[in-house]
Amino acid sequence: MKDIKKIEIIQRPPPPEPARRTNPLARVFDELVRFCQSRSMFMLHYCTGCGAIELPPAMTSRFDMERLGIQPMVTPRQADILLVTGYVSVKTLKRIILTYEQMPSPKYVIGICSCTVNGGMYWQSYATAKVLKDYIPVDVYIAGCMPRPEAVISGLRALMEDIRTGRGDAWKKYYQNYDFYLGNQQRLFGEKWQTPTDVIAEAHHYGMMTDQTLGEHTDLLEQNEVPLDALRTRLKARTE
C-alpha cells in the first residue's frame, strides 16, 4: 500500500505554469485586489514569545494599528498574518507550524525580535529553535529586543507595501520548497513528524508544485503517515 503510494507521488505531473494575465484589465483588477488585501489584514492572536508584550500597545489606542486595517483575529483559519514574536521554543514551534499550515493563503509571517533571526539571547538554550526561516518562510523581519510598537508598525507598513506591489509572496515558498522546510522540521521534531494539513495537496491546488516541493523528506512523511486519530489527552482523576 505504502509502496504504491510512493510510486504515485513520483509519477505526479510537473507543476503547471502559473497563469499569466495578459489582459490589461485583469492586471488592473489584480492591482486592486492587492491594494485591498494590503489594507485589510487579520493578525493571528498568538503570543508566541516575549515580544508579544509590545503588541497590545501597538493594537490599542496609543499606536493603533487598526488605522492600517490590521486587527487581531482569534482563529488561524481567518487570519492573514502570523506574528512570531520572539524566541520560539521547540514546543511552540510545532504549534506555530500547525497554525501556519492552517492559515489560508495568501498568508504572511512576520518575525519579530532578534531571536527569530539567529537565536537571539537564547542562542545557548537547548529549548529554543534558532533560525525561524528554516522552518517556515518569513515575509518581514523586525529588529529589536523587543521592537517598540512604532517599529512593529513600521514593519507592518513594510509588509503592506510588499503586498501592494505583489512582492509579499513568501507563502508560495512553503509550497515550492516544502521538502526543505519539512526536512528542517523533521530534523528538529524527529522523523515521525506529521501535520494534519496536507501541504502537498494544497501545493497542487495552488499550482505551486516544483521539483523542490517533493523530496526525501516528503517521502519520509508518506512512509510514516498514520491515520488521523482523535487526540488523546492524558488526564488523571485528581482528588481534592
Binding site: 508584550i53 490599542t60 488561524p76 524566541y87 514546543k91 511552540t92 539571547m121 538554550s125 488526564l235
Partner: protein, 380 residues
C-alpha cells in the same frame, strides 16, 4: 489522498469530552495551554500544559557571567520585569556583601512601584478584554504606555530595562524626571475614578467576576498562593512589609485586602494596590531629592568578578506575588545555580487546575486573568 486514511473518531459514550485550550487562544494569558475534560461546558478536570515559553533560563544563567545575567533576568516575567532585576541584584549583593547606596535603593523602590502600576494596569486591561470589555483594555494599556515612557526616559528601554545591576542602578535620574513622574501620577490618580466607573464597579464586570474561581483563606495558604491573590482572601501578607528589602521599611503604605477570594476580589485588590503604589511613589518623589550620593557602589571589572562562595535566598513582592531567587555561588565567575521561584508557578498550575474544576469553560480565562498568571515565570 489523505481522506482515505481518515478513520472515524470514536466519541466517548457520554457527554464528556476533552479539549485543548490554548496555547493559541485569546482567553489564555501568554503562551500557555490547558487540557480540560468537560461535561457540556462544565469543567471536570483541567490540566495545565506549560513549557511553550521554556528557554532554560536557569541553565543559561549558569553559563554566563554574573553581570551578563542582568540582561537575562528581566525576560523571565515580561509584564513586570523590574522585580526580577532587583531580586537578582539583591541576591548578588548579599553574596558579595555590597552596600547599595541609599539613593540607588530609593530609585529601585521607585521602579518597582512603577512596574507594579504598569503590570496591574496591564492585568486589568487583559481581564477586561476577556470579559468582552474592550474600552478598559484600551485605557489600561494606553495608560501603562505612559509609564513605559517614563521607564524609557530613565532606563533607555521600554520593557526590558536592564537597569538594576548588582551594586545599584546604571544611571542617575534625568533632569526634571521626578517632576514628570509626579505629573504622570496626578494623571493616573485622576484616571482611577474612570477605571472604577468603567470597570471595577461596572455591573457587567462585577457580576461576571463575582464567585468565579473562589478560594478560601485556608485553601490559599495551603496551595501556596501569594501576593494580591492571597490578599484577596483577607490576609494582609506582603513581602514588602513582612520581609522588608531596600527602603520599604521606611515607607508608609497599606496592604489592601478583600474578603471574597474570587476573581472580583482579586481585581479589587489590584485596584487598591494601584492607589497604594501611587502613594508610595509620591513618598519617593518627596524623599529622593534630599538623598544625594552615588547611585552605585564600586563593583569589580565584570570580566574578572568572582562572587564569594555561598548562597542567598532573596524575596521580592512582584505584582503577581512572592518572587524569590536562590543563588548559589562556588566562588566562580558564573553562578553555580540560580533558581527562580516565580509566583505564577503556583498560580498558573496547581491553583488554576483546582479552581477550574467545577467552573464553566469560559471561566478558565476569567480565572487565569484574575490570578494574573504569567506563563514565562512558570516555564522559565
Amino acid at each position: 489522498m489523505r481522506p482515505e486514511n481518515y478513520q472515524a473518531v470514536n466519541h466517548p459514550p457520554s457527554n464528556e469530552y476533552e479539549l485543548n485550550f490554548g496555547p493559541n487562544h485569546p482567553g489564555i494569558e501568554g503562551n500557555y495551554a490547558f487540557k480540560v475534560k468537560l461535561n457540556g461546558d462544565r469543567v471536570l478536570e483541567a490540566r495545565a500544559d506549560g513549557g511553550y515559553l521554556h528557554r532554560g533560563f536557569e541553565k543559561l544563567m549558569e553559563g554566563r557571567l554574573w553581570i551578563q545575567n542582568i540582561a537575562l533576568v528581566p525576560r523571565i516575567c515580561v509584564p513586570d520585569p523590574v522585580p526580577m532585576e532587583v531580586c537578582y541584584a539583591l541576591a548578588i549583593e548579599e553574596l558579595c556583601g555590597l552596600e547599595v547606596p541609599e539613593r540607588a535603593q530609593w530609585i529601585r523602590v521607585m521602579q518597582l512601584e512603577m512596574s507594579r502600576v504598569a503590570a496591574h494596569l496591564f492585568a486589568f486591561g487583559g481581564h477586561a478584554a476577556t470579559t468582552g470589555m474592550y474600552t478598559p483594555m484600551f485605557w489600561g494599556i494606553a495608560d501603562r504606555d505612559l509609564i513605559l515612557d517614563r521607564f524609557e526616559e530613565l532606563t533607555g528601554g521600554r520593557v526590558y530595562h536592564i537597569y538594576n545591576i548588582p551594586g545599584g542602578v546604571r544611571r542617575d535620574l534625568p533632569e526634571g524626571y521626578l517632576g514628570r513622574l509626579s505629573g504622570l501620577l496626578d494623571y493616573l490618580e485622576s484616571r482611577l475614578p474612570d477605571y472604577d466607573n468603567l470597570f471595577f464597579t461596572n455591573q457587567v464586570f462585577v457580576r461576571r467576576a463575582r464567585d468565579v474561581g473562589t478560594m478560601t483563606q485556608a485553601q490559599a495558604l495551603k496551595w501556596g498562593v501569594t501576593g494580591p491573590n492571597l490578599r484577596a482572601t483577607g490576609l494582609a501578607l506582603d513581602v514588602r512589609r513582612d520581609d522588608p528589602y531596600l527602603v520599604y521599611g521606611r515607607l508608609e503604605f497599606d496592604v489592601p485586602t478583600e474578603a471574597g477570594g474570587d476573581a472580583l476580589a482579586r481585581n479589587l485588590v489590584r485596584r487598591s494596590e494601584l492607589q497604594q503604589s501611587i502613594h508610595i511613589l509620591r513618598q519617593v518623589i518627596d524623599r529622593l531629592p534630599e538623598i544625594d550620593g552615588p547611585i552605585r557602589c564600586p563593583i569589580p571589572n565584570p570580566l574578572a568578578w568572582n562572587v564569594p562562595a555561598g548562597e542567598a535566598y532573596t524575596r521580592v513582592e512582584s505584582s503577581k506575588g512572592e518572587l524569590a531567587y536562590y543563588v548559589v555561588s562556588t566562588g566562580g565567575g558564573k553562578p553555580y545555580r540560580v533558581h527562580v521561584r516565580g509566583p505564577s508557578s503556583m498560580h498558573a498550575v496547581q491553583v488554576l487546575e483546582r479552581l477550574a474544576v467545577g467552573s464553566r469553560l469560559e471561566d478558565i480565562a476569567q480565572i487565569m486573568f484574575s490570578l494574573d498568571a504569567c506563563p514565562p515565570e512558570v516555564d522559565r
